[in-house]
Amino acid sequence: MTERPALLDAHLIVDLGGFRLDARLRIAAGEVVALLGPNGSGKTTALRALAGLRPLTSGYLRLGGREMDRPDRPLWTPTEHRSIGVVFQEYLLFPHLTALDNVAFGPRRHGVPRREAREQAARWLDRVGLSGYARRKPRYLSGGQAQRVALARALAVAPELLLLDEPLAALDAGTRLDTRGELLHHLTDHPGATLLVTHDPLDALVLADRLVIIEHGRVVQEGDAATVTAQPRTDYVARLVGLNLYRGKATGHGVEVDGVTLTTADPLTGDAFVAFRPSAVALHRQRPDGSPRNTWPAVIAGIQRHGDNLRIQLTGPIPVAADVTQAAAAHLQLAPGQHVWAAVKAAETHAYPAAP
């Protein structure tokens, strides 16, 4: 992405008493970036700072080459003068206006004459497939329809920066699937920069060109979906992508993690991560021998259904999740509290340096 000039270039620093957001964001024109993080990680604060609904404590915010917020100058562009469009989590469609007038609201405020604004709004409603719903008030729209009106309303002002706050979170599972597909189509067409704030990894993976992962107000990892899913750098990311992740000291062909040396296929030294899939973990009643495997004793802490398999949570020298088939579980007579041996082949592990 660095080849393309950034339409949005920001270093967002916001102090909120006990919490501090400190995140750099660059988004190119036409690029969709997902800001992914757990609850309370600062995603919403970042979105509000970008929208001008909360001022920066320091840092800077440039959009389309113009300073929006620069506490050290001080420069400040209020929300209504920023070239932004926001799709709020609960949409916030004006309840007293029809779908058409909701979409026409932005163009009207940008000086478009009433008739023309309504024509634009009608075209937008048509694009999101709601031309038949122009006269409806928001309370007579379904969740999916309201989401599409909110998207049309945000896009109707042709914003340089489109901000989406958990755009699919308020929808039921079936509607979410359809709406996600629709949304992808519209985000691809949007010529400006797009920031998608979400805690749902699936939304991020499907909709975004690039992921920025934020925890405790800081960016912990960023990159395209393939890089992030292959080489998670925090427990949160590892859980998101369903990997076991450990940090330790690499010594040639092994990484020492909390007293267990995991033999890996990747030669490495220094601080390192080791990641492997839960399905790569094999469980045994007795200590297995003879094969080039990592083995360690563990205790079963919990068993959950996971797709067609069972996911076994293990405690021991290192916590680990293992996926086994129902048949294997029955054969091994697995139950919580039981002592087992866990084993992972070196070839199934993936080690990479911890220093970015």
Binding site: A51, G52, L53, P78, T79, E80, H81, R82, I84, G85, V86, F88, E90, L92, F94, P95, H96, F105, G106, R109, H110, R153, A154, V157
Partner: protein, 269 residues
């Protein structure tokens, strides 16, 4: 609550400790109105209604109460917005000041108005000297007295509505390019419209019934400042039956207006 009697399924038993005072309270409120209806001179009602003074007082009452309400809306809604949305030093003091006319005896309000807007008052002298306007003992004075007493009802109702309104709609309007004034007129006002209507109705009803401040500040001149409550009070000294008739009219008109508004606006979701 008796333990022996099995309560009927699906019904909420009302404790006697609540039921008895509730019924007494209802009787206390309803009996005087019933008395008014029982003692009304129904046989001579048409002639009494046709008397010229009655209609004049009624018209004056309706006009002044409506103008006073309009004045309260014009000044009170922005004041309520300020109290609800802007953090400023002394906001608590301002809010307390707004509620003073609620607890002040209206006669005292009338005296206070005379001291400020009277011929010798701080503002009154300036108004008379510069524009030749004298407010006391005029119809405008009636409006002023009614507005003074009724405005707190509007401000409190609208402030409550504004506090209850979701400010995120205003943020959404800002992200779409709306300046604060446009946001206020196009988003905030429509959102709190039911609250404003309720406040305006309360305000109008209070203005219609205003007596103390009006008679103190505006006097009791038929056709100019004699509103219905003043006419009732005056009639009471000379002709009890006339007072009852005037009271009945006031009661009917206010109940009719409130009922009409309630159906049209207040109960809307």
């Amino acid at each position: 609550m008796s333990v022996s009697a099995a309560p009927r399924r699906g019904t909420l038993r009302v404790p006697l400790g609540l039921l008895v005072p509730a019924v007494l309270g209802l009787a206390f409120l309803a009996l005087p109105l019933a008395g008014l209806l029982l003692r009304a001179p129904w046989s001579t009602l048409p002639q009494r209604l046709a008397q010229p003074g009655v209609l004049t007082a009624l018209r004056l009452s309706l006009q002044t109460a409506t103008i006073a309400t309009a004045l309260c809306l014009l000044l009170g809604v922005p004041l309520a917005w300020l109290l609800a949305r802007v953090e400023f030093p002394g906001r608590r003091v301002v809010r307390a000041l707004v509620t003073v006319p609620l607890v002040l005896p209206p006669v005292v309000g009338g005296v206070a108005l005379l001291l400020v807007f009277g011929r010798r008052g701080i503002v009154g002298r300036w108004l008379a000297g510069t524009f030749g306007i004298t407010l006391p003992f005029s119809t405008a004075g009636v409006v002023l007295a009614e507005a003074f007493v009724a405005m707190p009802f509007l401000v409190i109702a609208v402030e409550g509505a504004l506090r209850g309104a979701d400010t995120r709609y205003e943020e959404a309007a800002a992200t779409l390019g709306a300046r604060r004034w446009t946001t206020f007129t196009h988003v905030t006002l429509p959102l709190v419209a039911p609250g404003i209507t309720a406040g305006a109705v309360l305000c109008w009803a209070r203005a219609l019934g205003e007596f103390g401040a009006t008679i103190t500040f505006a006097g009791n001149f038929p056709g100019r400042t004699q509103t219905m409550p003043l006419a009732v009070y005056l009639a009471l000294e000379t002709d009890m039956k006339a007072a009852i008739v005037l009271s009945l009219i006031l009661l009917t008109v206010s109940v009719a207006v409130l009922a009409a508004l309630r159906d049209r606006w207040i109960t809307s979701p």
